[in-house]
């Protein structure tokens, strides 16, 4: 489902959308410097530093309790950091009250004003800033058109469905042309199909208006689909920050490897350029000693004659086979009893012993020797 009427989209004097791999390109829009926040005895954020590039779609990903919503609230201004600073556009952001920050939020429960119509909701921020009446009408109409809610301008929020309320909330935030848009798990209340649809629309919207989006979610698929970069937050600290492909293919820690996608963790030993894991071995450059490798299930396949020298081949017994529609997730037991998980394109049901293979380059060495 695509956005129709592309001609009616807002032409805003915004910066051209960029999708940088690193924040180093140009001046960052938002700088979070060593920010920490505790509630009573509970430390929710510990020493988080992060730069957000202008025009990028950055997702803060993490499980519940990781501190991601708190981080968002610090940027919006509803909480103050205990230590650290937040800078935006060369000014201290964390010193300003929320109503003076050029940041707008799309709340998880939309927070539409029940006593105002859809039009009045969207116009709220403009009115608060004293924008002229005629301009308000024009901008509100454009914003509503952008989220395809023009027909509901006079409606009461209580009459709208969840998805419709969310669009209005989006329009209400965007109409103010903020420098930064914060989205606090805006799609979590929607059902699966509607969610996928909205994801696509959000992404296109962001490209159109070019505003920097800071998106919070616990859903890693969502994060990978939408973001220019993902910042993975774990127990109040930044685990890894990189583009989706980078995070997926080159996770830095076991936690990352397991949180974003599924993986097999191989605790191996590297000696003289060779990594050994049980009966398996493959060439490996780098520091000798104990090392953990991440091997994605989709990188293990049924062995074929075309495999080359860099391939590790082995026999294993088929265990549990789970049908996932387009793929099968199979648990296999190797000769020494170790269990691996394999994802293959779906075919017939397998049983007994089969020959499997994986490329040495797919075993990604992780930067920590932590337990998973």
């Amino acid at each position: 489902m695509s956005i129709q009427n592309r001609d009616t989209h807002l032409t805003q004097p915004q910066e051209a959308p960029k999708a940088p791999e690193k924040a180093a390109a140009g001046e960052p829009l938002l700088q979070i410097r060593s920010v920490a926040k505790s509630f009573g005895a509970r430390a929710v954020l510990r020493d988080v530093s992060l730069d957000v590039a202008p025009g990028e779609f950055l997702t803060i990903l993490g499980e519940s309790g990781s501190g991601k919503t708190t981080l968002l609230r610090l940027i919006a201004g509803f909480e103050r950091p205990d230590t650290g600073e937040i800078w935006m556009g060369g000014e201290r952001l964390d010193r300003l009250p929320p109503h003076r920050r050029q940041v707008n939020t799309v709340f998880q429960q939309y927070a539409l004003f029940p006593h105002l119509s859809v039009f009045e909701n969207v116009a709220y921020g403009l009115r608060a800033q004293g924008v002229a009446k005629a301009e308000i009408a024009q901008r509100v109409e454009q914003a509503l058109a952008m989220v395809k809610m023009s027909a509901y301008a006079g409606a009461a929020p209580s009459k709208l469905s969840g998805g419709q309320q969310q669009r209005v909330a989006l329009a209400r935030a965007l109409v103010n042309r903020p420098l930064l848009l914060l989205l606090d798990e805006p799609l979590s209340a929607l059902d699966a199909n509607l969610r996928r649809q909205m994801q696509g629309e959000l992404k296109m919207l962001q490209r159109e208006v070019g505003i920097t989006f800071l998106f919070v979610t616990h859903d890693q698929d969502e994060a990978m689909a939408l973001s220019d970069r993902i910042a993975l937050l774990r127990a109040g600290e930044l685990e890894q920050i990189a583009a989706p492909r980078e995070i997926y293919n080159r996770p830095s820690t076991a936690y990352t490897a397991q949180f974003v996608g599924q993986t097999n963790l191989l605790r191996a030993e590297v000696v003289d350029g060779v990594a050994r894991w049980g009966a398996f071995s493959w060439p490996c450059e780098g520091r000798p000693g104990p090392a953990t490798f991440s091997l994605r299930p989709e990188h293990i396949r049924l062995a074929s004659p075309a495999d080359d020298q860099q391939t590790v081949r082995f026999l294993a017994t088929i265990g549990q086979q789970t049908f996932c529609g387009d793929t099968d997730l199979i648990e296999i037991s190797c000769a020494d009893g170790r269990v691996l998980r394999v994802r293959t394109p779906s075919r017939r049901i397998l049983e007994g012993q089969c020959a499997f293979a994986f490329s040495a380059s797919d075993a990604v060495r992780l930067h920590d020797a932590e337990e998973s």
Partner: protein
């Protein structure tokens, strides 16, 4: 799901009691208002004399208007005192909110008479207030109008009914989802604008309920006037009481009561409809 026996067992006793001890008495009251009294006994002849008397006699109307003015003054004062405090409790008090809320309720549990009596102590010629003012040399002689005046009645009733006004206002303020307040600020509205455009409109049902309590309860009050009202502070309920006492005219008293009843019920009806329009959450 519930058997017939269950339903009967549950519905009949209260229905019977309420019919006997509420419906019948109120019906009796209504009936009495259509009767008259002559030479010390009640004559059960149906007529509209009492109501005509009320309409023609300036004194009754005067007292009624004074009662409504006092009720209006008390309502306004109760709102002026109660709303800001309710707002403070709901939005500013933080961790102490529950404790402070209980502290507002505590005076309610002290007997009305007792509090009224205490005000008498405070407002009298050799009472606390006058003593205090003289001690500070602000006045040389005791101020007379503090006690036994409409002023005293308004003061005491405001004191008594402010908590009643505060409670529904507090409830409706608490009901406002905090993320609406955050959203308003997020969109650039200062705390003051946020209050007037978001918080206040959403608190209107509570405000209306609180104002109604204050007005209706004050209108029907007869104790404060007797305690501190003096001759100039008489209210409509005092007239009813005396008609059932020394002045012995039960039918007339009943007629005034019926008028008060209709007034109060009419107001409640109007308020209920307005409240529905102003409720959004």
């Amino acid at each position: 799901m519930y058997s017939r026996t269950y339903k009967l067992a549950v519905a009949i006793p209260p229905l019977l009691w309420v019919t006997l001890f509420l419906l019948v008495p109120y019906a009796l009251l209504l009936s009495y208002s259509f009767w008259t009294v002559s030479s010390g006994t009640i004559v059960r002849q149906w007529n509209l004399e009492n109501y005509r008397d009320l309409g023609r006699n300036w004194m009754y109307l005067q007292v009624l208007f004074r009662s409504m003015k006092i009720a209006g003054a008390v309502t306004v004062l109760a709102l002026v005192l109660g709303y800001p405090l309710a707002y403070y409790l709901s939005f500013r008090a933080g961790a102490r909110k529950d404790l402070l809320y209980q502290l507002v309720i505590v005076p309610l549990w002290v007997s009305y008479l007792v509090r009224g009596y205490a005000w008498k102590t405070i407002l009298g010629s050799d009472g606390v207030l006058n003593g205090f003012l003289q001690y500070l040399h602000l006045v040389r002689e005791p101020v007379g109008f503090f006690l036994y005046s409409p002023f005293a009645v308004v003061l005491v009733l405001t004191h008594i009914y402010t908590p009643f006004t505060l409670l529904p206002i507090y409830a409706s303020l608490e009901h406002i989802p905090r993320h609406l307040v955050e959203a308003s600020q997020d969109l650039g509205a200062s705390p003051r604008v946020t209050f007037w455009r978001v918080i206040f409109p959403l608190s209107l049902p509570g405000l209306l309920a609180g104002a109604t309590f204050a007005f209706v309860l004050t209108l029907g009050d007869f104790l404060a006037p007797l305690l501190v009202g003096g001759a100039s502070g008489i209210m409509i309920s005092n007239i009813v009481v005396s008609l059932f006492g020394a002045a012995f005219d039960w039918p007339l008293g009943a007629a005034i009561s019926v008028c008060i009843m209709l007034l109060v019920l009419g107001m409640l009806f109007a308020v209920e409809r307005t409240e529905k329009k102003w409720t959004f959450t």
